[in-house]
Symmetry: C2
Subunit: 315 residues, 2 copies
């Protein structure tokens, strides 16, 4: 029986550090990523569901939206910008995968699903915006924008001032029936890009909110709704490490749920970086997933075969 893997692509799958975000740069990275994904489909005989980050893309888009206000073009809210980057990145990935399959004489439908992710309107994150988004400003501009637009702004690691938005936890994937159906059919699905478009339910209606959902935590929910066997997070390092950056740093290979949970509680993994990846991996195996993997993008094929990366198993 074919197995099912949800692959969460990190930002480096689309844009490398130091790149500005031209179409050519992005498409060139995406082509390499597509090659990995097609290898997985063929070599490992897996059904593949893909999710991805959108940090640099939505950052660029927010700045463009800002810049457009000088020409009287209204900026769209963050949920809409998220939807736009799902279209943007999904298109690049689906085209690159189709082409990579064609090159090998294969055809398999690929679909990008514009995905809303439900969050709880009472999530404490709404009282404590913590996720930096968009461009850096000087203090004066940042405080002016905060007054004018009702933003919360903070000084970010000595690099300047930025807007921060809430990062609520993902509760459910609104388009789950659509995604499930396409996966059942054996199609390749790209969903929940950028952590999904965050929506709350208010008086029985869905409503977009200005927030960012962590893409690995949302990817984990996606893995649950498609009943995945494996949840694989691909990033720019080859797994999770304890005592990271210290003399006794140790990279984790095969690790049980109990062990990883202990490391997580001991605070080994950095917030907003390896922390949510490890948490997403823990949640997936707790839910009943066979295995969660954290690995480097360029080692995806080997990592899925358990030859490298951090492999999280029940016991």
């Amino acid at each position: 029986m074919r197995k099912r893997v949800v692959i969460a692509l990190g930002g480096n799958a689309i844009l490398q550090r130091g790149q500005r975000g031209t179409y050519e740069e992005q498409m060139s990275n995406v082509r390499k990523t597509a090659k990995q994904i097609v290898e997985i489909i063929l070599d490992n005989n897996y059904d593949v569901i893909i999710t991805h980050g959108n940090g640099p893309q939505v950052g660029n888009l927010l700045l463009q939206q800002d810049a457009g206000e000088a020409y009287n073009i209204p900026a769209q809210p963050m949920d809409v910008c998220g939807a736009m980057t799902q279209g943007q990145i999904g298109y690049m990935i689906q085209q690159a995968i189709t082409n990579e399959l064609k090159k090998r004489g294969l055809y398999k439908p690929v679909a990008t699903i514009v995905t809303q992710v439900l969050v709880d309107k009472d999530d404490p994150a709404f009282q404590n915006p913590s996720k930096p988004v968009g461009p850096f400003y000087d203090e004066e501009t940042a405080k002016k924008l905060a007054r004018e637009k009702g933003w919360v702004v903070i000084e970010d690691s000595g690099r300047g001032w930025r807007r921060v938005v809430p990062s609520p936890g993902p509760k459910d994937i609104v388009e789950k029936d659509v995604i499930r159906d396409l996966v059942e059919r054996g199609f390749i699905v790209i969903a929940s890009g950028g952590g999904g478009i965050p929506v709350v339910e208010e008086d029985g209606r869905l409503k977009g909110v200005e927030a960012v959902i962590d893409k690995d935590l949302a990817g984990e929910r996606l893995a649950e709704v498609v009943n995945a066997d494996v949840f694989m997070i691909l990033t720019d390092v080859n797994g999770a490490a304890i005592n990271y950056g210290k003399p006794d740093e140790k990279w984790l290979g095969r690790v049980t749920l109990d062990e990883l949970r202990r490391y997580y509680e001991e605070g080994h993994f950095k917030k907003g970086s390896m922390g949510p990846k490890v948490l997403a991996a823990i949640r997936f195996v707790e839910w009943g997933g066979e295995r969660a993997v954290i690995a480097a993008l360029d080692k995806a094929v080997q990592a899925l075969k358990q030859k490298t990366g951090t492999q999280v198993i029940r016991d």
Copy 2:
């Protein structure tokens, strides 16, 4: 047996003339449109596939992308911008439909599919760019941009200078298998927004091109691939007219394929406006569709029941 209708929403379903394009304006229009669509689903017992224009949205986005260049943010090419507006508009429509259904105690999955539309790389349109896109410029700026970016620019109806891009004919819907599958399941599908993302096949690979496909002609291809019974084009006038704007102007009600073809060849319908709508209607009935409808957005329910609008039938 349930019938199947492809509805092509005009720009006015999302943004009214004179509006700037704020989220609130667009969402308020989209909510009204969603109400019409849900009426059709319930009252007429039709399966519904939706496509839509993106003119004002992609126009705004192109201007924002331009404006962002001052901050060193690379502008994305037109195909990517088209994909972004599919995410943007699809998200608004899918959320509004879901909410309108919920209000009536109903649930039905809604999916926006990021859609590539194949065009012929030898389409003569590529030698003759004619579709104005994006902002107006003064002559000097327009000619400078033309030199710098390789754009073709023209003076547009005395309103200033604009970029023009090719408008090739739609050949095929790349994601047709995905769309068909979801329609078969009875899901509501939003696809081929803005006429689809234009792609050509080159050395066996898909590649985005800087072009705009007419959304009604692309919608007609969509109607073919989902095997629709009815193709309905909703716009801001209640059908097609011959001798439009003249003393002997006559609005067309029920009209046969032969009659409409003759009027089309006689040049009754304006290029870039009613022309492609009539052509799309003709093509659909020629292909074997039961009926094509051109009607006003706010009369959609009645038009589908043949009580108003232009109704194109075989004979």
